[in-house]
Subunit: 256 residues, 8 copies
């Protein structure tokens, strides 16, 4: 399926009508039946790859090991590679490997990649973080971006309370085509970086902190209210989402 072309299929259907091979009535229903696979508990969306340039990503949390296995095997059968499985434990990763699935697992990011196909990494995405404790979110972003074929540079623990740490990396920041700014607590990192560079900044608030941090709300609001231009925000702890968007941006080609 991922090798076929969606538009062609629909045209083929319309031509079958044109050719009288199928009645208009029947086509009406078929027309809306899209090429996804029904596993009973999950509809795998093979169109997404066509529409978005990346295959289905599996959100592992709240899924059983068996469910994940079935989804992955089904996707591998279709010839898909570089299948990202987010938020899975080492235990789940071990299980998948024991089932002969070719899986790489990144424990800090709790991220698995089935059938990883090394590819050229282009452009430059910088992942910057405020503190050591944000590392799992950072790595989710970084590895997502790498798997999607981007060159990634990590700048960790460059929080704004020690500004020189960040300023000393300005040469790297200005070369980036997209920056993912990961920070908990007061979330000021996104604004300060946003003021230093001219590329888009994707801000990821994290739930790191305590007290009036309120599980990341503090950083989230701070980032949404950023007085720097060029900063947009994703959900709390959503490293994958930020890495994905940074990849979309980094891989842009010149407008014609």
């Amino acid at each position: 399926m991922p090798k076929s072309n969606n538009k062609e299929e629909i045209l083929k259907l319309l031509q079958s009508v044109s050719d009288g091979k199928i009645s208009a009535d029947d086509a009406l229903l078929k027309l809306q039946v899209q090429p996804f696979e029904d596993l009973g508990f999950a509809n795998i969306d093979y169109h997404r790859g066509l529409r978005q340039g990346i295959g289905e990503v599996i959100y592992g949390k709240n899924k059983t090991d068996e469910q994940i296995k079935k989804i992955v095997l089904n996707m591998l059968d279709k010839g898909l590679t570089d299948i990202l499985i987010t938020r899975i434990s080492q235990k789940t990763a071990d299980f998948l490997i024991s089932q002969n699935i070719d899986l790489r697992y990144a424990p800090i990011a709790s991220l698995g990649i089935a059938k990883y196909a090394q590819k050229e990494q282009k452009g430059l995405i910088v992942i910057a973080s405020g503190g050591t404790s944000d590392m799992s979110v950072c790595e989710e972003a970084a590895i997502t971006a790498e798997v999607l074929g981007n060159r990634v540079e990590r700048l960790y623990d460059v929080g704004v309370a020690g500004l020189h740490r960040l300023l000393s990396k300005q040469d790297i920041l200005v070369k980036a085509r997209a920056i993912v700014a990961v920070a908990g607590m007061e979330g000021a990192l996104a604004t300060v970086i946003g003021g230093l560079v001219s590329c888009p900044v994707i801000a990821v608030p994290t739930s790191v902190g305590y007290g009036a941090n309120f599980g990341g709300i503090s950083a989230l609001l701070s980032m949404l209210n950023s007085c720097a231009n060029g900063v947009s925000v994703v959900n709390i702890d959503n490293g994958f989402g930020a890495g994905y968007i940074a990849s979309l941006i980094n891989k842009m080609e010149s407008a014609k």
Copy 2:
């Protein structure tokens, strides 16, 4: 100043030290003194243009007519063009025009542009909105993007409660290089568009609605929790910010 080059200036300073024209001690202080203009009540930041490829944008709200006039005149003196002044009333616009400032004013967007220099509009940014009531936010985004040199297509009133309205525009959506999705109430538009396209979507929650809408929180949370990939979010009603980010993305050139 806007015509000079920041890096060169600093090199020149360091060379003056090297040449003995200025002492190391004096250079230490000068090095951090940046080329902004102090008007007493406002420090105009001419570096931002250098760093971010766009001149200072004036946030008009909470500023007096006199303050805005002084800032604009100061910027025009430096040779700047296309100065955006957001959130100003018709009254303020009329005042600025009466002071011989070359100003275009867009009343729906409450947006002024001083010394508008028509330029080529490239690529394609789509501004989609859920309802007629979101139009002021949409226009702030659309005009910002146009002034920054992007081609803009407006898809207004394509909310998801009448899905066919949106689906009938799919041919435009898929051509976009960046989409700004503006919606109040339940904010589902961003997610639905995010599922249909492969370019980055910048979601703008609006304060339109009533009751449990809570001034835009409902749409904001909805957009942050979007299950579609590629969606990032800006502040409630922040049309300018979304238009600015969409412009950064649309104007990306291929990575080398």
Copy 3:
């Protein structure tokens, strides 16, 4: 358009393909172009009537008098009747009437009905309210239900702090096929009614009250947490929505 049939139209299109009158390629695009009218600022959705058994409802708030007038005239041109326009002022109503629009206006509900076609009122919907102050929301629900062809009984000011007021109306309550329970403050009315009857109860929290009422949040949470079965909730002050749902339920026919 409202007299035509959506399904037939699509079949006709497919038959044109079958007949060779139109190419498959062209049909592909047309297929998704739906029969709504583009007024520039608003896409009127004529399909909704087909899909939902009621014409487009105009949410009047945040629209100019001119915009409302254009939308109404456009709808009347299509032969639509009983066009509800919610949240409009007496001033707007007077304007529409001055434009020769056949409009009835209910000032307490801030509701207008263009080209009201008296119809038989069937079944029974009860609108119950906690206090006199909730009357505008109640009337929005009641008139909506009446215009949609339902018999409506109003039980106002039967708040639970004087339980006998409500209990004395039990004979009416048990005859209802759907009940709209409107209450601000502590919102207990929905739960008490929910415990007394066997039909669905649609709860409408209102913003009436003060202090820790928080603009209706108190009643909203109370209703969502109702320990009575059969109670569902709509947005704060959303009388129209509740009247609409009650109408859908009251007009149900026996399952075959």
Copy 4:
């Protein structure tokens, strides 16, 4: 008791007064003493069946195994069947079975049914969900509706980020007499379905998601602010409540 008739009993009491068998004074008190059973820790409400067409439902959470057992046995003694026990663990179910209670247990829904009496399933209720992770809430709704005698169709994992998955099921959706839309995260499913169908939609926000999902608030607000008509909302994760309301609606008979 469930075989007797409440109204008749009260009439009988009043006739005893009329016959002089009981004094007016004594009747005054008796009149308000209703036929519920006092177990010390719980008052079982046998009237509810009369009033609402379904027996007492036991909310299992926060009750001990012994308390649940006593309530169930007491109800079975009265001849009740199809007793729903929500939110109980497998362990509790096993205990009840070990006490010779005829119990069916649905582990995904954490739902038990004592003395299940197979009955004809009529009409059609559709349970649609945004993702695999919402399945426990969905099943609570689905089984509740089935036990109450409704035909149920499950459409799981049809979230709006892959719109074609939902659109391909439109033929089922339009046949439904009531739809339960279950979704976490941004909760857009309820609005999109609400725009596609003409029957009442009961929206169930779920606590599935993370970050700014805030345990279901995001989906709750999204659903309350739905721009689609016909959508009402129940409490977060309240599958039982939604299934119950859908049943009330599906079993409506034509108004006379």
Copy 5:
């Protein structure tokens, strides 16, 4: 009606059944029909006086002058006195007086009393406030308590930031039978008073303050979390409610 006796009336009804003057069926319905007056927009609850020892209180906000007038006249017709009308403006008071209603108006409290009957004031209720700005809430409480026949002592502007102001009044505080503690901002007054006395303290948070005061939430939470025993809380700015409860307590008689 207020001179009759509720219990007697019901007995009379039951005796009519016993005497054969009325059928049991008819009595069944009548039994729940209570002696309130239906004005169309308001059900005046004459039972409340019987049940609660005070006539209906009119919540004036959101009612029109005409509505209030009709309710008051209806109540005066029944022979009621000391009718409290809360939250009305001077303008409304003037209107009522112009309609020959015997009304006293307290402008600071925005409170009217129709047909005020001077009575003996017994016991002692103290109304203490944190600052001058809380005075309208204080006076609503004080006058309510006075009209209900209690002796009231006012201790205004004794906030805890100047503790000696409060401590110097300790002799009055310890004589009180109930204390209403009114405070905005940090609301500490209730706790400090609660620690000094042995009578019940009714705490009234006010919306006075700014910033993180959030319209009284700060004081409300502070009072709910009071570490002093004997403190209970009413709604923000609810002076009437606090005065009413203090009156109930002050008028308690010794248990037999």
Copy 6:
């Protein structure tokens, strides 16, 4: 100390000054040194008994077994009886008993009473609850009131969704001198009871429920916004506080 008299002590001090036995300077400091005991980690407040008619109550949560033991022993040494220790586990109770402390423990209420002295129970306090799950909060209130010398009647599981359960107990309700209304979920019980009786009602929101219950906020707001007069509120789950206030009220004597 509890046998001495606070006022006398201070007078004695002042007389020592008058007699020249102590200098004015020294008296100045002593005057503010109150008779509490410093245990290093806790200042036991023996004055409270004098001021409030009940000894220090020990809030057991967050205290170690050893700390509680030391505080209790110290109080027993002073001759105190009926020492309430709230929120302690069976394990802590067992430990205290093993240390030869004369303790009664109520496991449902998690409440211990050291040296319980049976006393006459006067008046009547009713503890009413919405559901079985609120029982621990109810029992904390009930036992507190009993230990303080009040007669207590328990009405459990009389939630408003089955109104007749509550109405059948009206004869008990109207005899109460104070009522504690305990309810989670939508908290309507307090309002309904408040409308039925003329005594003060102390409302206790509980954290029982799920979803939009938000740990008791829903019931708390509902109770604060009660449209019934005479209802005041204590903190979520604060059974002790409510029982204590009900006791203060029940034990009021007639004003002289």
Copy 7:
């Protein structure tokens, strides 16, 4: 009164007891009667000057012109100078001046100073702000600090989105003995300054901004979660409080 000495007065009272001029009983009561002035609506606290080194500050909001006049005149009578009156309008200031009160009024800060006595300004307090729009809060802080006798340096519009503006002022920042950091929106200024200096930073969140700024909550949370050491926070828009605390710190003398 302000010239007398509190301690001496109390000693004098105790000596009167010692001398037999006053009975111990009478002294007991007097002892707690403190030297504040009761104006009926306000208790002026002359002790505060003794306790806190500054006279009573009048919070002007919610007070009538007449009330403010009376309080000021009363204070001037006592010989007080430098009386701060916060949050008053130009109109109120004009009124006070028209009453022959020697008043200076700062319109941006909405602050009046009665009988301003020029004094030496010592040390250094820096007031830094993120944007022009925060100026009223800044000036309230700055003038408060100046009136209290501190040297003040203003650094306005040095927000972190243009970091060089702030860094160029580092020489002033490091000389400060206390810094007031005023910022709305994302409030990052406090953290960045906190990382650059070693003196205490008092952070003032402002309500400037829009959307998810929520009237200053965003900046408040950001500042409370600051990852920089030495930062404490005052209420939203509380310029006076911050200026006052900065003054306390700046005027510290070396510990002995």
Copy 8:
């Protein structure tokens, strides 16, 4: 590194340019490279000691034992002493000691100090707390202040519900140069202390309490709204931050 001098280093660099030993271009980059150590997962900030008079403090939470060990050893290598490690368990402390790190551990405060160097303790900081349960936060503040060289006095369990406990310690309070007021629940302690003293008060809300305490929000809001002057606030449970600020203030020297 801590023995060197930051300014000198930069001058040396500039002199190298002046001497021709390094090119201006190279100096440009070096100039911003600050003396921090990169451990891969953490950038230790040795400049902070220079800027803020205290070495890097390690926030232990969310760091592994191995990470903490590496950071500590690296800091000890640089000759640092008195390294504070906050929020670590006894287990982590034991591990560090087992690795031959000279560590003192305070279990109540969960605080470790590596290479503690006894120093003279000057001035006076008072740590006051509302209840025994706040002790861990208090001790974090107290030990932080002691390690930084301040004399500390602890006043625990002096909550305002028993005011005399606090008043009896007034002689200690008035001697303090800075006070840390730690309180949960209603947080009134900070305001009452703020009204009694003239030194700065740093308020620490704690998460101690239950119900509407909301994990410390209640106390936080109470403290932010304090009506006493001189009170500023830190994050919930942030004992370290408060002790640090109190130390900055206590160690102030007289302005010259």
